[in-house]
């Protein structure tokens, strides 16, 4: 895994008053925050707080009704998902979205798409340059699978590996796009305690390579254990942010969760 070179104390992602409406419902309400690089930032909040909507807005699946999203100082709101991925944001999904008609290895190879170049003509005639790139893609995919402990299953159909492996594979595919910012949507949902711990370790290991991570998660034990910073959403608005131990004690946060 290549080390990320980034200056400290710089903002990698910033949202300015983004609002996202579905009919009468305000899923995000003038939400502003900024995120420093090389950290694990968790976004928490009760169901329906707007966490997944936020990820969808950042990755361009939805376009916010108003407000701005800046990535490394450049506005990205309004861009299409593939353009945002090309700029260096990659994600996983709450419900695993793999290409289940492909092998584990091929899934990761697809993930390399935005960082490779071969086009239609290269594909038709398999020129020497195409073959070289294809070899590089395969090797890099194998390196990634090794990092994620999936190399022994490289040639399995992705639909046939366990759910924990599928979740890791999805992260591996996202990492194949060499993102500056990785968004994880509930990476431990559906995993047992042991698998959850392993996933926590994996996320920390990723951070140690310099990866910036936004984590949306319901498992408070995991969030409080690995996060550097926590942002709390409620009804689409930010009701608090701070270090994990501060947030645990914050009265507004406790209220939102207990629903007084």
């Amino acid at each position: 895994m290549p080390e990320k070179v980034f200056q400290q104390n710089q903002t990698i992602l910033e949202t300015r008053e983004i609002t996202m409406r579905f009919g009468g419902l305000e899923a995000l309400n003038a939400l502003s925050f900024s995120i420093a690089p090389h950290q694990i930032v968790s976004v928490i909040g009760p169901n329906g707080a707007g966490k997944t909507t936020l990820l969808n807005a950042i990755t361009g699946v939805y376009s916010p009704n108003s407000g701005e999203i800046l990535f490394r100082g450049m506005p990205i709101s309004g861009l299409k998902p593939f353009q945002i991925t090309a700029r260096g944001i990659n994600r996983t999904f709450q419900q695993v979205q793999l290409f289940s008609n492909m092998t584990v290895l091929e899934n990761v190879m697809v993930g390399m798409h935005p960082r490779t170049k071969s086009g239609f003509w290269d594909g038709l005639f398999h020129f020497a340059s195409e073959r070289r790139e294809e070899k590089k893609i395969r090797e890099k995919a194998e390196t990634l699978l090794d990092f994620f402990g999936l190399l022994p299953k490289a040639y399995w159909m992705s639909a046939h590996v366990s759910i924990a492996d599928q979740k890791r594979l999805e992260i591996a595919r996202a990492m194949a796009g060499e993102p500056e910012l990785l968004l994880l949507d509930e990476p431990v949902a559906g995993l047992n305690i042991r698998e959850t711990e392993a996933m926590g370790d994996l996320i920390i290991k990723l951070k140690q390579t310099g990866q910036t991570i936004i984590l949306v998660e319901h498992n408070m034990h995991l969030v409080m254990g690995i996060s550097d910073w926590v942002i709390v959403l409620h009804h689409g608005a930010k009701i608090g942010e701070g270090r994990p131990e501060e947030m645990q004690k914050d009265s507004r946060v406790v209220e939102a969760y207990l629903g007084t």
């Binding site: 299409k80 998902p81 593939f82 290409f99 008609n101 798409h113 490779t116 005639f125 294809e134």
Partner: protein
């Protein structure tokens, strides 16, 4: 594309090369020549159905555009043969681009309706613009295919030319699906949202695949016109569009070898059914239904399974496994 495919392809080319030596009946060779052209259309259509997740019910129109453009430019205006065939491909490609751009941006199967409407319009134009197309009675006297003075004037001579084009199309298409672009196409047809978020410009790829698919149909259409030397609108009706979609389905969506199988089988089948005259439409319909009801992945995996001794799981999911997600 993997060792296996290379061996298959070699064996396939060898069999095709030997067929005319064994087969002496010229009519049978003609049926096989038509099969070679159908393979080109069906492979193109399967790239669209299996790798872009879209259906076209207008491929007869692209096939017909190739045929009529070729006929008009060469016979009426005296254009040289091969440049005309390429010109027809370019024009057909541009038409497909114009249809694809607005419809493929939308979610859902709008392309089906657009191509279907387009097919009917082109069909009507072929009949009505009789000053240019010869109308319902057809367009006769199209020059034969030739390369540097050598005229392909018999079924036997043209056999090798058409099958070279057909095998070449298969080779290039197999190359394509086993490349970065092919992977991206397989990904988008299987899970579009995930593909977009993995950095694939899905709209652009869908339009490109559709254009390629139309261009291949145009190439086959041009060859058809210069081979038979006479074309009439009936060949390019909506029914041909259905036939080629059926060939894709019989072979299996997403399987290019299946397309070869489907195209050959369904080109020969109606010839056999001619023996039962009146009943051929009925039997054609019933076969289509039975296959789709009981073998939705196509007949090719079933047939291939008989020949395959080991029951190994498909190692690469990009062949034989139809690409459709939840």
């Amino acid at each position: 594309m993997g060792k296996k495919n290379k061996i298959y392809l070699l064996a396939y080319a060898l069999i095709i090369f030997l067929v005319p030596a064994i087969w002496k009946n010229n009519y049978h060779l003609m049926v096989l020549n038509i099969a070679a052209l159908n393979i080109v259309v069906v492979i193109g259509l399967n790239l669209l159905m299996g790798f872009a997740g879209q259906i076209s019910l207008g491929h007869a129109a692209f096939f017909g555009l190739g045929a009529y453009l070729s006929a008009i430019f060469t016979a009426t205006f005296g254009f040289p043969l091969w440049p005309t065939i390429i010109l027809a491909m370019v024009i057909t490609g541009m038409v497909a681009y114009a249809i694809g751009i607005p419809t493929l941006k939308l979610e859902g199967h709008y392309l089906v309706m657009a191509t279907l409407g387009f097919n009917i319009i082109i069909y009507i134009l072929m009949i009505q613009l009789d000053g240019v197309t010869g109308g319902p009675s057809g367009f006769p006297g199209i020059p034969r295919l030739q390369v540097g003075g050598f005229v392909f004037d018999s079924d036997r001579k043209i056999y090798y030319l058409l099958w070279t084009i057909s095998v070449g199309t298969l080779l290039l298409s197999l190359n394509l699906i086993h490349s970065r672009v092919g992977r991206a196409m397989a990904a988008l047809s299987h899970n579009e949202i995930a593909a977009r978020c993995a950095g694939i410009d899905t709209e652009n790829y869908k339009v490109k695949v559709f254009v390629i698919s139309a261009v291949l149909a145009s190439l086959a259409g041009s060859c058809y016109a210069h081979y038979i030397t006479f074309i009439s609108p009936g060949t390019f009706s909506f029914f041909y569009s259905i036939q080629v979609v059926t060939m894709v389905l019989i072979g299996g969506i997403g399987s290019l070898w299946g397309s070869v199988f489907g195209a050959i089988l369904l080109t020969i089948l109606p010839e056999i059914l001619h023996a039962v005259k009146e009943y051929n439409v009925l039997i054609y319909g019933i076969i289509l239904m039975v296959v789709l009801i009981f073998f939705p992945q196509g007949l090719f995996p079933v047939v291939a399974g008989i020949f395959r001794k080991r029951k190994d799981e498909a190692r690469s999911g990009m062949e034989l496994v139809p690409g459709k997600g939840p």
